[in-house]
């Protein structure tokens, strides 16, 4: 019994990492039909944001509240990835709507650039740029509207962006001066250390549940709940779904489809940032960290189908549990009397990478029966 609970917990933990990583990808794909190959790199940005936040919280001024850095990091990572995602949408993806394959290639290009950027630009500069972008985008919202009168609009715009650029430069030089780790460019992996309260375990029924995994499960749960609420209950969520179903009609009804695109993509990217926080707690962070998670995300999207968020959730947990059962060789422990041929077959797949092989094979078999995933779209609008 203990074993079953333990492996179930492990499966759920792996599944929730998959889920948080795939959530943004699935939303953007489901609502906009765009597969963002730079999703993994947005996660990587989120993970680096966590790292930078953590280092900043080590400064003497913030030391007393160091333990809370993870919560702040979630917000920071969300914002950073969302802003980068929005820039990506405005500059590249917007030109490619209706050409999903071309979008795939272009976002791959973006992911290469982001990877190399992290490798060859010191983190302090990157942070400075992120801060500048954030202030530049937020300032206009804070400033009174009547400042933007016809003849001065350009001037004010120029002013806000110069101020933000200045803030960016100051903060980046400040950071590189105070925290030497941020001042150098480095392709080396960095490690995020979890705060003390997250390092231990949580004991129940004689089983130890590692705190980090519990935290990740909680983060994922909150993210899923807020996304569900946002899409189903909030005004903008309903607008987003309206645009998904009938773009031109929504346009006619006065919904700004451009804003909807930006919002959808921003949220999807922001969720990638949150996923970045989660993966930074699990292992070291490097420029390639996103790539190792992205294929898991693809499997989730393919298995879950595009129609429904529920599909994404179920698919993540299924894959998580199977990966854990097979990959960690747990199935043999649970069921020791397994017939020998089956046991040797299971043993063959009993590593994490071989478990992936098995999961992929299972998905391909599954697709033979349900080609459109767990929750396919129905009706006459579906193209034959």
């Amino acid at each position: 019994m203990q074993l079953i609970i333990e492996s179930l917990f492990n499966g759920v933990a792996i599944g929730s990492v998959l889920l948080i990583a795939a959530l943004g990808l699935a939303i953007v794909f489901g609502l906009m039909g765009v597969i963002n190959l730079a999703h993994g790199e947005l996660m990587m940005l989120g993970a680096y944001s966590t790292y930078v936040t953590q280092l900043i919280f080590k400064l003497p001024a913030l030391k007393p509240i160091y333990n809370a850095y993870v919560i702040v990091a979630i917000g920071v990572a969300f914002l950073v990835s969302a802003v980068v995602g929005i820039l990506l949408e405005r500059s590249v993806i917007r030109r490619l709507y209706g050409n999903p394959l071309e979008t795939l290639l272009a976002t791959w290009g973006v992911s290469l650039i982001l990877q190399q950027f992290v490798r060859s630009v010191p983190l302090a500069y990157g942070t400075g740029i992120a801060i500048a972008l954030l202030t530049g985008l937020i300032l206009p919202i804070l400033l009174p509207k009547n400042l933007y009168k016809k003849n001065r609009a350009h001037l004010v715009k120029f002013g806000t962006w110069s101020v933000s650029a200045l803030i960016g430069v100051i903060s980046s030089s400040g950071l590189s001066a105070t925290i030497s780790k941020l001042g150098r460019a480095s392709a080396r992996n960095v490690d995020v250390t979890a705060p003390a309260w997250m390092r231990g375990g949580f004991e129940l029924w004689g089983i130890t549940f590692p705190m980090t995994r519990l935290v990740i499960i909680v983060i994922t749960g909150i993210a899923v709940l807020s996304v569900t609420w946002f899409l189903n209950r909030s005004v903008w969520g309903i607008r987003i779904r309206a645009v998904t179903q009938n773009r031109s009609m929504s346009d006619c009804l006065g919904i700004s489809t451009e804003t909807v695109d930006v919002l959808t993509f921003g949220i999807g990217s922001g969720l990638a940032g949150v996923a970045g926080v989660a993966i930074s707690l699990l292992g070291s962070v490097g420029p390639n960290v996103g790539g190792s998670y992205i294929v898991g995300c693809f499997m989730v999207v393919v298995l879950g189908g595009v129609g429904n968020l529920m599909g994404t959730i179920i698919a993540s947990f299924c894959i998580g549990i199977i990966t854990d059962l097979i990959g960690a060789g747990r199935l043999l422990t649970i069921w020791p009397q397994m017939p020998a041929p089956l046991a040797s077959a299971i043993d063959f797949f009993a590593t994490t990478s071989m478990a992936r092989v098995l999961v992929f094979a299972l998905i391909v078999i599954f697709l033979q029966f349900r080609p459109a995933g767990l929750f396919p779209q129905k009706g006459r609008m579906v193209e034959a």
């Binding site: 129905k378 009706g379 006459r380 034959a384």
Partner: protein, 251 residues
């Protein structure tokens, strides 16, 4: 009456609880020209989808030449001799007019015979004949994507004829055509009937009248009535469906 070429028996189609076709039964004799009309949402396109295998019915039976079409793939049904023209013209935009027709005319449709088989020139005469019917000879090497809407409609009709099916399903062939082109299309379809069985769906009453054929009226996924154009126009039910209830006073 002889044995019907196509017969639909008690077809139901449900999309998530919405009944697109509701106990639809219809049969067509060989060589017949039949027009099907109906208001929006009457199930006209779904009706064609069921015949051509795009949608499988929830229950019911579709028989063509006495064989069931259920659970057959679209390409099987097409090879059995049912050709379809779509509502909005669908041609292969990056191929030329000639190549479009060549795909339709080509007898071998399996990959290997196509790869190893003889060159398209064998069909050249037939294709030029088709192009002359629909007046597209001068466009033989234009890509279909750069044709006008009306020309695409005609190209698709020519492709349909080139497929040489026993039965032609024609969905709104005159949408977006000029009056003159509409007349020509009506004449073309009439000339095809006899050798082929033709089923035409359209909204354009002038065009339907010109076809001078029996008319079936669909409403809410069911046959409302059948008869000549004259009879249909007198039918109070049809008037109600198309114009709304008199006591409603809307129209």
């Amino acid at each position: 009456m002889s044995k019907p070429l196509l017969e639909l028996r008690q077809i139901f189609v449900s999309f998530d609880g919405f009944l697109a076709l509701n106990n639809l039964s219809i049969s067509l004799q060989p060589g017949e020209l039949r027009a099907v009309i109906g208001p929006n949402g009457a199930g006209k396109t779904t009706f064609l989808d069921v015949i051509t295998g795009k949608v499988s019915p929830t229950s019911g039976e579709v028989l063509f030449k006495g064989f069931s079409l259920l659970r057959k793939n679209e390409h099987h049904i097409a090879r059995l001799g049912i050709g379809r023209k779509f509502q909005s013209p669908r041609v292969f935009e990056n191929l030329t007019v000639f190549e479009n027709l060549a795909l339709a005319v080509s007898k071998p449709k399996r990959p290997l015979p196509l790869l190893l088989g003889r060159n398209i020139n064998r069909y050249s005469d037939q294709i030029h004949h088709l192009m002359s019917i629909v007046n597209l000879q001068a466009r033989a090497s234009t890509t279909a994507g750069s044709l006008s809407h009306g020309q695409k409609q005609w190209l698709e009709i020519a492709m349909l004829v080139g497929q040489d099916p026993d039965m032609l399903l024609v969905d709104e062939p005159v949408a977006g055509l000029t009056d003159e082109e509409t007349e020509l299309t009506a004449d073309l379809l009439k000339s095809l009937a006899g050798d082929h069985t033709v089923l035409v769906i359209d909204h354009d009453m002038e065009f339907i009248r010109r076809l001078n054929s029996p008319v079936t009226v669909l409403h809410q996924g069911n046959v409302l009535c059948e008869g000549s154009m004259q009879e249909i126009q007198q039918n109070p039910e049809v008037i109600e469906v198309y114009l709304g209830r008199p006591e409603g006073g809307n129209l």
